[in-house]
């Protein structure tokens, strides 16, 4: 069986800096695949290549068996990859509901159908009561959930989550973990970048560890956190 997403020896250089260095991995349908690593390891760059923000200098990215590297972000979204941004980017002047409607319009037949879908997602992400407020007025945890709701509204097959747990309190993290679990049950596949190990350990089926742009370990969370290279470069000896 071919993987839903496969990243094959992808490299990205910014002038002299090699941000991602021949990274390879494959995400199977129904998985929660986590990419972890210290700041500057190239995680967001990797994400941006998958989402089409920039093209890799080398290597290929396949989604559902078709090459998507070098395609535009909107084309990739239409093919079924939704994403969130590490620094959240709600449409500030629009209401919470309208933010999600914009996403839902990608697949919905008309505004009414989009609104209905948006309401479902807002309920699921505990934002329904705040739907009439401008997105600019939300607190950070709410904005993070709005970001997820808006990406989900495009009915993606693969959801890219860029540090959606960062800045959340432990109870909020647990709530988000529960929401993501539910989504996986509904047939979604998730690729996440995460610093919050509590979430990674609770969620991920497999983990890829990036360091200076290179993949230094890959496997189940239990195995990866015991790898000496990972402990040395990222987690620190005292963690776990």
């Amino acid at each position: 069986m071919t993987a839903l997403l496969s990243v094959e020896a992808v490299t990205k250089r910014f002038r002299g800096l090699v941000a991602v260095d021949e990274a390879s991995f494959a995400v199977e349908a129904g998985e929660i695949f986590a990419v972890i690593g210290p700041n500057g390891a190239g995680k967001t760059t990797l994400f941006n290549m998958i989402a089409g923000v920039f093209a890799p200098d080398d290597g290929r990215i396949l989604f559902g068996g078709e090459r998507i590297d070098g395609r535009r972000p909107d084309e990739i979204a239409r093919r079924g990859i939704g994403r969130t941004f590490q620094i959240v980017r709600p449409f500030p002047a629009l209401t919470v509901e309208d933010n999600v409607i914009v996403g839902a319009l990608l697949r919905a037949d008309g505004v009414d159908a989009a609104r209905q879908h948006a309401h479902e997602l807002l309920r699921r992400l505990d934002l329904y009561d705040r739907r009439a407020r401008p997105a600019a007025s939300l607190t950070l945890p709410d904005r993070k959930r709005l970001e997820v709701a808006r990406a989900l509204a495009t009915r993606p097959r693969l959801l890219l989550l860029d540090e959606v747990m960062a800045g959340l309190r432990p109870t909020e993290t647990d709530r988000m973990v529960a929401i993501l679990r539910e989504l996986i049950g509904g047939g979604l596949t998730i690729l996440l970048i995460e610093h919050v190990m509590r979430a990674v350990m609770a969620l991920a089926t497999r983990v890829l560890v990036l360091h200076h742009g290179a993949a230094i370990a890959q496997g189940t969370p239990e195995v990866v956190v015991r790898e000496p290279a990972v402990v040395a470069s990222y987690l620190g000896a005292e963690t776990l």
Binding site: A77, L94, L105, A114
Partner: protein, 333 residues
């Protein structure tokens, strides 16, 4: 359309009905001078609506809409003079020419990542060099101007836009009302949502599958085409065209004031803005003239002050504030 009406609150419907009724009856109880001021009000409400689609909805600043206004005016006037084509027919090539130019400007800017202020500079440049070009095209009179002859024998041909102020008043009224309705409908359409997303954050919009370039181009096509219709109206209303006036940057600025003062990105903003600015500007001229003061720049100074006041007091424009006062800002669902 039906949905729009249903989503308007009951007292909102009453206010709209009263406004339309008063405007429809206006020629019966106003004198000629007031009527000409009202024609200007509705004309600027219409043009403001066209410009607002691009700026208020799609978020791209054009400071060169005089280009589309002038093209619409010149194409229809030239076809009337040289080929005897009436405005109802020449409307089509006039709109086509302006839309083609609008799309060319949009393509040149957005294809190459020129946005915001730099895009605005590009629009000024195109309007300016078109002005200079028209100064030198003898076919349309060059800098000496283009004049539509009086031809008293055709005075009653309303279909050729020949008639008194009442005729032009009702045309301007229909244009302004139609444009407001179109803007309201677009705002609530899938396209309208995409425009707002593109305006708010192009990168986030892309991540949701929106083709930002296409969304902007559609906004430009509709906006420039609508502006050209205003140009046709202008040509047959004023009956003389000079490149230095029609394509002047002052024209471009003048037509964006109403939506800015009234409220960018709102449907009623351009209407309210035109109703505030135009009568005050005209009244100022009347007052300075009656005092025997010759102050040709007074209106421009007044518009400048009005803009400063509005940006200081109501940065989102008059309409959002007024809508809140009238409790029209809570849509029913």
């Amino acid at each position: 359309m039906k949905r729009l009406w249903e989503e308007t609150s009951p007292h909102g419907r009453v206010l709209i009905a009263v406004l339309l009724a008063v405007l429809a009856a206006a020629p019966a109880f106003t004198d000629r001078y007031v009527l000409t001021v009202l024609i200007l009000v509705l004309y600027f409400a219409y043009l403001g609506q066209a410009w607002n689609l691009l700026m208020g909805f799609a978020g791209q600043l054009s400071l060169g809409h005089a280009l589309y206004l002038g093209l619409g005016a010149y194409v229809s006037a030239a076809l009337w003079l040289h080929l005897g084509l009436g405005p109802l027919v020449s409307l089509v090539p006039a709109v086509a020419a302006a839309t083609a130019c609008g799309l060319a400007v949009g393509w040149l800017g957005w294809r190459f990542g020129i946005e915001g202020v730099y895009f605005a500079l590009l629009t000024i440049a195109f309007a300016e060099f078109t002005r200079i070009a028209f100064d030198n095209i003898d076919f349309v009179g060059g800098s000496g101007g283009l004049f539509l002859p009086v031809e008293p024998e055709r005075a009653g041909e309303w279909w050729n836009l020949r008639g008194g102020p009442a005729l032009f008043y009702y045309i301007a009224f229909a244009l302004a009302a139609g444009a407001a309705l179109l803007a309201a409908w677009l705002r609530h359409s899938p396209l309208g949502y995409r425009w707002l997303a593109v305006r708010e954050d192009p990168e986030a919009a892309r991540a949701l599958g929106i083709n930002v370039f296409r969304a902007r181009m559609i906004a430009m096509a509709i906006s420039s085409g609508m502006t050209a219709v205003g140009g046709v109206f202008y040509a047959f209303y004023s009956r003389n065209l000079f490149p230095a006036q029609v394509f002047d940057i002052g024209r471009s600025i003048e037509l964006i004031l109403a939506p800015i003062v009234g409220g960018l990105g709102t449907v009623f903003g351009p209407v309210i803005g035109a109703f505030i600015l135009t009568p005050l500007g005209e009244a100022l001229i009347a007052v300075t003239e009656s005092l025997g003061v010759n102050a040709p720049g007074a209106k421009a100074v007044f518009y400048g002050l009005a803009l400063i006041a509005i940006i200081y007091l109501r940065p989102n424009g008059v309409w959002p504030w007024l809508a809140h006062l009238l409790r029209l800002d809570e849509p029913r669902r």
